[in-house]
Structures are given as structure tokens and as C-alpha cells.
């Protein structure tokens, strides 16, 4: 059988998948690009061509910049915390102790809990009048009056980050644990014989095995965090005073609440571009560090 014929057959087998993606992803994306160049509303879909007007206006707007900063802050803080806590949990689970496999099984729970349920659970915990956090801190004598954790700009974003980190650090932990367990025991034993301390063992023996999987986890978590919508929508809807309004929330409001489809589309494309640049940057860094460790 010739190679072209088998190639053709392979493409034929790919066809249903390609049709689905073309119809449900590529076509809408192209349509969003088109919309972003118009002043279309949600009801009257054909707007006037305005060129890059939506982009320049939105990039210059204070609302966009504030949402960008919020999103970047949320992403940077949650992903770093998930990374640190995940690796620490993996180092712990890599030790031998009784109940280790049970504890590892528990790591699945936050990951499996639906995102929306997680957001609602933490909203209940942070409730200003009847929340568990207020009650616990008050009874421990750490605060003398109940606080509105999600109702104040100073604490709302951090409260949301905690909820996101709790749900996602176990995933980073499980990925790191699998990587740690692929470190050959002989290599580790040799390092100990050579007198390598805990830090040297981590840095020179474990990190080379950890770096690749961890990088993939960071890329995936960063992309997810930058697109964050669900947890914000449930916990604060972007408030108070827009202090937790992320880019996805801003796009949603622009397109669906204010019915400005064209402007919303331009914002959505800006978010997409940033996510892609982040992914490309990570892959480039990963290639470079892969050569070094």
C-alpha cells in the first residue's frame, strides 16, 4: 500500500473529529474575529465595520487594565501557591509512613469536587454572618468582630485565591509525586553516600525528574487560572467595587450584560492572545531549562 493512500485513509478517520472542531470551534472563532472588527450588538448582529477601533479603545480603558491586573494577580498568586504546596505535599507523600496510600487517595477529593460546588462551599465558609471562618476565628480569639471576607476589596481576591489553591494544589501534588517516584533509588542512595544534604538531593537528584512534569502542570494551571470565570462568578461576580473582576468576567459583562458583541469579541481575542503568549513563553523557558538541569 502506498504511503499517500494510507495517509488519505488516516485523514478520513480523522474527519469526524475535524468536522466537530471546525463547526464548533474554528467557525465561532473566525466569527468572533469578524465581530471584533464591528460595532455589532447582541440583538442586531450586523454592525458597522470599525477596524481595530474596539481593540484600541478597550486596551486603553481603565476597566480593561484593572481586570488585566486582577487576572494576572490571581494567576500569579494561585499558581505559585499551588506549585509550592503541591511540591511540599509530594515530598511528604514520597516519605514512608503509615496511612500514606490513604492520604494519597484523599488528594483526589478537592480535584474531583465540582468547581461550582467548591466556589459555593467557600462562599458559605466566608459568609459574613454565619460563616465557619468568622466563627472559628472569633472563638479562637483571633478576631473580635465578624468580617465580610468577600465583601471587602482588601480581602475578597485573597479569599478567592485560597479557594482556588485548595482545589488545585492536590493535582500539582499528585503530578509531582508521580515524578518523584520515577527517581531511581540507586541514584538517591548514591547521593546520600556522597554526603548530599536534603537540599542538594532535592536540587540535583529530584529536580531534574520533577522539572518536566511540573512545567506541564504550571502551563496547564496558568492557562486555566488566566481564563478563570466560574469561581469568580459564584463567589463575587467580580465585586466588591470590581476588585475581583477578571478578564473573563469583563468579557461576559461587555457581551452579554451590556449587549456589546463587537467590543466583547475584541476583549475575548485579547485574552486569547495573552493566553497563547503565556503558553509559548513557558514552552520556550521549558526548552531552555531542559538543557540546563
Amino acid at each position: 500500500m502506498t504511503s499517500t493512500r494510507t495517509d488519505l485513509r488516516a485523514w478520513a478517520l480523522m474527519l469526524p473529529l475535524l468536522v466537530v472542531i471546525l463547526g464548533v470551534v474554528s467557525w465561532p472563532l473566525a466569527s468572533t474575529v469578524h465581530l471584533s472588527l464591528t460595532d455589532a450588538g447582541m440583538a442586531a448582529r450586523s454592525g458597522n465595520f470599525v477596524g481595530l477601533g474596539n481593540f484600541t479603545r478597550n486596551l486603553g480603558s481603565g476597566a480593561f487594565r484593572a481586570a488585566f491586573v486582577n487576572t494576572a494577580w490571581f494567576t500569579a498568586v494561585s499558581v505559585s501557591a499551588e506549585l509550592v504546596l503541591g511540591v511540599l505535599a509530594a515530598l511528604l507523600l514520597n516519605q514512608e509512613f503509615r496511612g500514606r496510600s490513604f492520604l494519597r487517595a484523599l488528594m483526589i477529593l478537592p480535584w474531583a469536587l465540582p468547581t461550582v460546588v467548591n466556589a459555593i462551599l467557600w462562599r458559605l465558609i466566608y459568609n459574613p454572618e454565619y460563616g465557619a471562618l468568622n466563627s472559628a476565628l472569633y472563638q479562637l480569639g483571633l478576631i473580635d468582630a465578624y468580617r465580610s471576607w468577600l465583601g471587602q476589596p482588601s480581602s475578597a481576591m485573597m479569599a478567592m485565591v485560597v479557594a482556588d489553591v485548595w482545589k488545585n494544589f492536590p493535582l500539582v501534588g499528585l503530578i509531582s509525586l508521580a515524578a518523584l517516584q520515577s527517581v531511581p533509588r540507586e541514584t538517591l542512595a548514591a547521593a546520600i553516600v556522597d554526603g548530599a544534604g536534603p537540599w542538594a538531593r532535592f536540587r540535583h537528584v529530584m529536580l531534574p525528574y520533577l522539572a518536566g512534569p511540573l512545567m506541564i502542570a504550571i502551563v496547564l494551571r496558568t492557562i486555566e487560572a488566566f481564563k478563570v470565570f466560574d469561581i469568580v462568578w459564584i463567589m463575587t461576580r467580580g465585586g466588591p467595587a470590581n476588585s475581583t473582576r477578571t478578564l473573563s468576567i469583563l468579557v461576559y459583562q461587555e457581551a452579554f450584560s451590556f449587549q456589546r458583541a463587537g467590543s466583547g469579541a475584541s476583549l475575548a481575542l485579547i485574552v486569547t492572545l495573552v493566553v497563547m503568549m503565556l503558553a509559548v513563553a513557558y514552552v520556550a523557558i521549558m526548552r531552555r531549562t531542559a538543557l540546563r538541569v
Binding site: 494510507t6 495517509d7 488516516a10 478517520l13 480523522m14 469526524p16 473529529l17 466537530v20 472542531i21 463547526g23 464548533v24 467557525w27 465561532p28 466569527s31 468572533t32 465581530l35 447582541m42 516519605q95 514512608e96 496511612g99 492520604l103 484523599l106 483526589i108 477529593l109 478537592p110 474531583a112 469536587l113 465540582p114 461550582v116 460546588v117 459555593i120 462551599l121 462562599r123 465558609i125 454572618e129 454565619y130 465557619a132 466563627s135 472563638q139 493535582l171 499528585l174 503530578i175 509525586l177 508521580a178 515524578a179 546520600i192 502542570a217 496547564l220 492557562i223 488566566f226 470565570f229 466560574d230 462568578w233 457581551a255 458583541a261 469579541a265 485574552v271 486569547t272 497563547m276 503558553a279
Partner: protein, 281 residues
Amino acid sequence: MERRSPAFTLFVYAAAALLGVCLVLPIFWLFVMSVSPASDLAAKPLRWWPEHLDLSRYRLLLTWAENTTGKDFLSALRNSLTVAGMAVAAALAVAVPAAWAVSRRPSIEWSLQVLIMTYMLPPVALAVPLYMGLAALGLLNSVFGLALIYLSILAPFTTWLLKSGFDAIPRDLEAAAAIDGARLDQTLRIVILPLAAPVLSTAALFALLLAWDEFFYALLFTADQRAKTVTVAIADIAGGRIADYGLIAAAGVLAALPPLLIGALMQRAIVAGLTGGGVKG
């Protein structure tokens, strides 16, 4: 292994206990809230352990009667199951041939890598045209419309998972089947799929979790009991004027139960899938 000092052993157990508490406490508290009488939850400070077991919220949510929260919630559970079931079945149907093609013809693997990139797109970048498209097709507020969109989310990564499973199946088996005169579809059905059963079920369960979890598109594209999924329904309950936090908690527990069970059952497969597929990619 290095011998550990007693102090270090103590530290390991203390850290393990702390990690265990952190992982379980929030979920356990959700459950406690769901069975605590409303008066306990409205106490200041809270009554941490219920005076008596109050199962009224579960009764309310699981009773099918006209114009009740129960009917809303139960139809949402039904819709979630229908949408996720249809989307997962369709995703596997398109993923099996595609994954096999990519696994056996590495020269076209780039096409799958391009499709995987769609994962980077924020849903907001597709939402407006999808909304208009579904409206034009009469598929707004329909389980079929939502399942179609979920199919596009599930199919690329299901294909990716299946491909790494198919890669592990020796080609000799197909050659032998071809010599015996089997057609391609017969080879796939009789030889490949049974061998790929473990990876097929992992992919299906993964896809099911993802579909069950989805909120953004469901929020936009569904409006009432005919299509609202469970994520939207509990967001409604939590966002409404309900003063009883126990009811919100109970709805959360019920919505979380299926994925938590699946997660507990397939924890080994999840870790293997997340690392194996990810690391090799």
C-alpha cells in the same frame, strides 16, 4: 534509604495529619452543614456539631413535585446526566478512529496537536457566535445543543488519551488480522478496542467529570428545567433568596457525590492519565 531520626518521623506524621485535615475538613463541613438544623447554622458563634440530624433538605431536593425546588433540582440532575452521557458517547465515537489514525500514522500527529491547542481558547472567545448559531438552529435551552458544545471540548483530549493507549498496542496484531482478511473496522472492533478497554474507560470517566463540571456554557445556553444542568441549578439555589444555608450545602453534596465517587474509584488511573499522557506529550 536513610535512617530517619525520631524527630523527623514525628514531623512527617504531624505534616501528614495537617495535610489530611486540610484536604477533608472543607468537604466534611459541607456535609455537616447539609444535615444541621437551620437554627444551628444561624447561631453566633456556630454550633459545630448538629443538635440532631436534619435530613429535611435531602428530602426536599429529592422529591419530585410540581413547582418545587425538588423538581428543579432533579431535572437538573437528569439534564446533567443526559448532556454528559451524550457528549461522552459522541466524543468516544469520533475519538476512536481519529486516535487510531494518529497512532498508526505519526506523520499526521501535528493535526491532533493543533486540535489540542483549542484548549487554550477561553470559552468567552466562542460564546457570542455559538449563542447566535445555537439560536439559529433552535438549539438554545436544549440538552442536544449543550451536548454538541461539550463534544467539542471533550473530543480533542479524549483522542489524545486514546492515542497514547493505542500506541502501546503492538502493530503485529493488526497485521495478523489483515492477513486473516479482516476489514479495518473489524480489526478495530475485534482486536484493538478490547485491548484498549482500560484506556477507553479512563478516557470516558475523565470526559464525564469534565462535562459534569462545566458551568459557563450551561449558564449561557440553558434557561429552564428542560436543559439547565446541575451546576447552574446549584448556582441558582445559592444565588436565590434562600435563607437556609443547609439547603445550599445539601445541593452541593448531591452534585458532588457522582464525581467524588468516580474520583475515588479511579484515583490510580487519574494519576497515570495525568502524568503518563502529560509527560510523554
